[in-house]
C-alpha cells in the first residue's frame, strides 16, 4: 500500500499545481489570443488599403518642385526662402503618402499596433486610416483594455505576494541583526529571554501576513472608504464572518486530505478553490504595504536593465534615450517620439513589458494611498488649528 500511494501523491501534487496555475495562464492566454486575432484583422483591413496618389500629394510635390526651380545661386538668399516656404509646405504633409501599407501593416506590424492599443500606450507611429479600421480600433480597445486590466490585476496579486514576502524576509533579517547586536552589547546571560525577545521583535516587525486586527484591516482595505457609511458596518460584519469561514475551511481541508481515497471529492474541492480564487483577484494587491521609495528603486533598477540591453540592437539609442523610452512605455504614456528600428525584438520582450507595467501599476497604487494619507493629515491639521482657538475654557 505504501508503495502505491507514493506515485499517487506525486500525481495529486501535479494536479494541484496545474489547477493553481491554470486561471492565471488562462487570462494570459486569452490576452495573447486576443492580440493575435486583432493583428490578423488589422493586417487584413489596413494592409489592403488602396494607395491612390491623392490630390494633396501631387500638390505637395509640385510646390516642392516650384520652390527648387526658383532658387538662385546665392546661398544666403536661398536659406530665407527655404525656411519660410518649405516650412509652410511641410505643414501640409501627411504621413500616409510615404508609407506602403503592406509593409507596415504586415502581421508583426499589426501585432505591435494591437499591443499599443490595449495597453493604452498608443505610440502613434502606426494608426488606422481607413474608416473601418478606425471603428474596429475603437471596438478592439473597448474590449481589450478591460481584459488587459484584468490580466494586470491578476498578475499584480502574484507580484504583490512576492514583494511583500521579500520585504518581510528583509525586515526579519534586519531585526535579527539588530537583536544580535543588542545581545552582544548587553552581554545577555539568559539565553531563553533573548530568544523570546528576538521572536517578539520579529513578530512586531512582521505586519503583513499575520492576521490583522479590525482597525488595520479597515485601513488597508481601501474599498471600505468608497462605500457610504451605512453599508460599512454590514461590510465589517460580513468580513468577519468571511474570515471565520476561511479559518474553519483551513482546518477542514486538512482533515479532508486524510481520506483522499475518494477522487470525486478531491476534484470537487479543487474546482471550488479555483472558482473561489477568481473572487480573490486584486485582494493581495490591496493589502500591499511596502515603502514607496523601495518601489521607485525597484522601478529604476528594472528600467536600467532594459535600457542596458536595448541599445544592443537599436543602434541609434544610447542608455539615456533607452531609459526614457522604456519609462514612457511602461507608464503607458507613449509619446511615440522615439522610433524603433526593430519593433519585432521589442515584442519578444513582452513578458518584461507586462511585468514592468505591473510594477509601475503597483507603485502608482501605493503612491495613491500615500497621497490620500498625506491629504488627510493636512486636512486634519488645518481642521484642528481652526477648532482650537474656539475652545472656551470655563472660569
Amino acid at each position: 500500500m505504501a508503495l502505491t500511494s507514493q506515485p499517487l501523491q506525486g500525481k495529486k501534487r501535479c494536479k494541484k499545481i496545474f489547477w493553481a496555475v491554470f486561471p492565471h495562464a488562462c487570462f494570459i492566454l486569452s490576452l495573447v489570443i486576443y492580440a493575435f486575432l486583432g493583428a490578423l484583422m488589422f493586417s487584413h483591413i489596413e494592409g489592403n488599403r488602396k494607395v491612390n496618389s491623392s490630390e494633396g500629394y501631387r500638390n505637395f510635390l509640385q510646390g516642392l518642385w516650384s520652390i527648387s526651380k526658383n532658387l538662385s545661386d546665392n546661398m544666403t538668399e536661398n536659406e530665407e526662402v527655404f525656411k519660410e516656404k518649405i516650412y509652410n509646405l511641410l505643414g501640409t504633409f501627411e504621413q500616409e503618402w510615404f508609407v506602403d501599407p503592406k509593409k507596415i501593416w504586415n502581421f508583426f506590424g499589426s501585432l505591435f499596433f494591437c499591443c499599443t492599443v490595449f495597453t493604452t500606450v498608443g505610440y502613434g507611429n502606426t494608426y488606422p486610416i481607413t474608416r473601418t479600421g478606425k471603428y474596429l480600433c475603437m471596438l478592439y480597445a473597448l474590449f481589450g483594455i478591460p481584459l488587459m486590466f484584468l490580466v494586470l490585476t491578476d498578475m499584480g496579486d502574484i507580484l504583490a505576494t512576492v514583494l511583500s514576502k521579500c520585504y518581510n524576509e528583509f525586515r526579519k533579517l534586519q531585526s535579527k541583526i539588530l537583536a544580535s547586536k543588542l545581545c552582544s552589547v548587553f552581554m545577555c546571560k539568559k539565553e531563553s529571554e533573548t530568544k523570546s525577545r528576538r521572536s517578539l521583535l520579529m513578530k512586531s516587525k512582521v505586519v503583513i501576513n499575520e492576521p490583522l486586527s479590525i482597525v488595520e484591516v479597515l485601513k488597508s482595505q481601501s474599498a471600505f472608504k468608497r462605500k457610504p457609511i451605512q453599508y460599512r458596518n454590514a461590510e465589517i460584519f460580513e468580513m468577519l464572518i468571511a474570515r471565520e469561514k476561511e479559518y474553519t475551511k483551513l482546518s477542514r481541508t486538512k482533515s479532508i486530505e486524510r481520506w483522499s481515497s475518494c477522487p470525486e471529492l478531491e476534484r470537487g474541492k479543487t474546482m471550488m478553490s479555483v472558482i473561489e480564487n477568481f473572487d480573490k483577484i486584486g485582494k493581495e494587491l490591496e493589502k500591499l504595504d511596502v515603502p514607496i521609495l523601495l518601489m521607485i528603486l525597484v522601478i529604476f533598477v528594472y528600467i536600467s536593465c532594459a535600457a542596458a540591453i536595448l541599445p544592443k540592437w537599436e543602434t541609434n539609442l544610447d542608455f539615456q534615450e533607452a531609459f526614457y523610452f522604456c519609462f514612457i512605455t511602461l507608464t503607458t504614456i507613449g509619446f511615440g517620439d522615439t522610433q524603433l528600428q526593430h519593433p519585432r525584438f521589442f515584442l519578444f520582450l513582452s513578458l518584461y513589458i507586462i511585468i514592468g507595467m505591473e510594477i509601475v501599476f503597483i507603485a502608482f497604487k501605493l503612491g495613491q494611498d500615500r497621497l490620500i494619507v498625506f491629504y488627510k493629515k493636512v486636512i486634519s491639521f488645518c481642521g484642528e488649528k481652526k477648532i482650537a482657538p474656539k475652545k472656551i475654557y470655563p472660569k
Binding site: 518649405i86 498608443g122 486590466f149 514612457i328
Partner: protein, 191 residues
C-alpha cells in the same frame, strides 16, 4: 526628401507660425503636462533635451498617482451625486428599489451623451473634422491611448476661442473619471 520629413517629424523647430499648442510656451507646455500625467501622451510635443527628459520622468512619477487620486475622487463625487438623486427621488415618489437601477442607467446614458456624443460636435465645429473623426478622437483620448494622429488646436490656419482649451481640459478630466468609473462597474458586474 525622406530625411527632411523625418527631421520635421522629430520636431526641429523653424521660425514659422505654429499654433500655441505646438510651441513650448505656457499653454503648449501646460497641454504637454496634462497629456503626460493623464498618460495620454499625444507626442506632438515631447522633450528632446536630456534635462527635459529627466525632468519629465520625475514629473510623471509624481504626477500620475496625483492624477489617479483626482480621478478617483471625481468619480466618487459623481457616484455619490447619482446615489443622492436616486435616494431623493425614491423618497419623493415612493418608488421601489428597481427605480434606483433605472436612475443609474439614466445617469449613465446622460454621461455617455455628455462625454462621448456631444464633444465631437464641438470638435467638428472648431477643428473641421467630421463627426466620426471627432468621435474617434474623443474615444482615443478618453481611454488614454492617445495616438496623436488627431490633436486639438494644432491647425495653424484656424483661430480658436480662448475658452476652447480650458473646456477641452475639463472634458478630458471628467470624461476620464467617468470612464474609469464605468470600467470599475463593469469589472464588478463580471465578478
Amino acid at each position: 526628401l525622406q530625411d527632411i520629413i523625418q527631421a520635421y517629424k522629430s520636431g526641429i523647430t523653424l521660425q514659422g507660425n505654429s499654433t500655441s499648442l505646438g510651441r513650448w510656451d505656457f499653454s503648449g507646455s501646460f497641454f504637454f503636462s496634462i497629456s503626460t500625467i493623464t498618460t495620454i501622451g499625444y507626442g506632438n510635443l515631447s522633450p528632446s533635451t536630456a534635462a527635459g527628459r529627466v525632468f519629465c520622468i520625475f514629473f510623471a512619477l509624481f504626477g500620475i498617482p496625483l492624477n489617479l487620486v483626482l480621478l478617483n475622487s471625481i468619480g466618487q463625487l459623481m457616484l455619490s451625486g447619482v446615489q443622492h438623486c436616486a435616494h431623493h427621488l425614491e423618497e419623493k415618489f415612493h418608488w421601489q428599489k428597481k427605480a434606483s437601477l433605472l436612475i443609474k442607467i439614466c445617469a449613465l446614458l446622460t454621461c455617455l451623451l455628455l462625454f462621448l456624443l456631444l464633444p465631437p460636435v464641438l470638435f467638428s465645429a472648431k477643428e473641421g473634422w467630421s463627426y466620426e473623426e471627432g468621435f474617434y478622437y474623443s474615444f482615443i483620448t478618453l481611454t488614454t491611448i492617445g495616438f496623436g494622429d488627431y490633436v486639438i488646436g494644432m491647425n495653424p490656419d484656424r483661430t480658436y476661442p480662448s475658452w476652447y482649451k480650458n473646456v477641452v481640459s475639463l472634458w478630458i478630466l471628467f470624461g476620464m473619471a467617468w470612464l474609469a468609473l464605468v470600467i470599475k462597474f463593469c469589472i464588478n458586474l463580471l465578478e
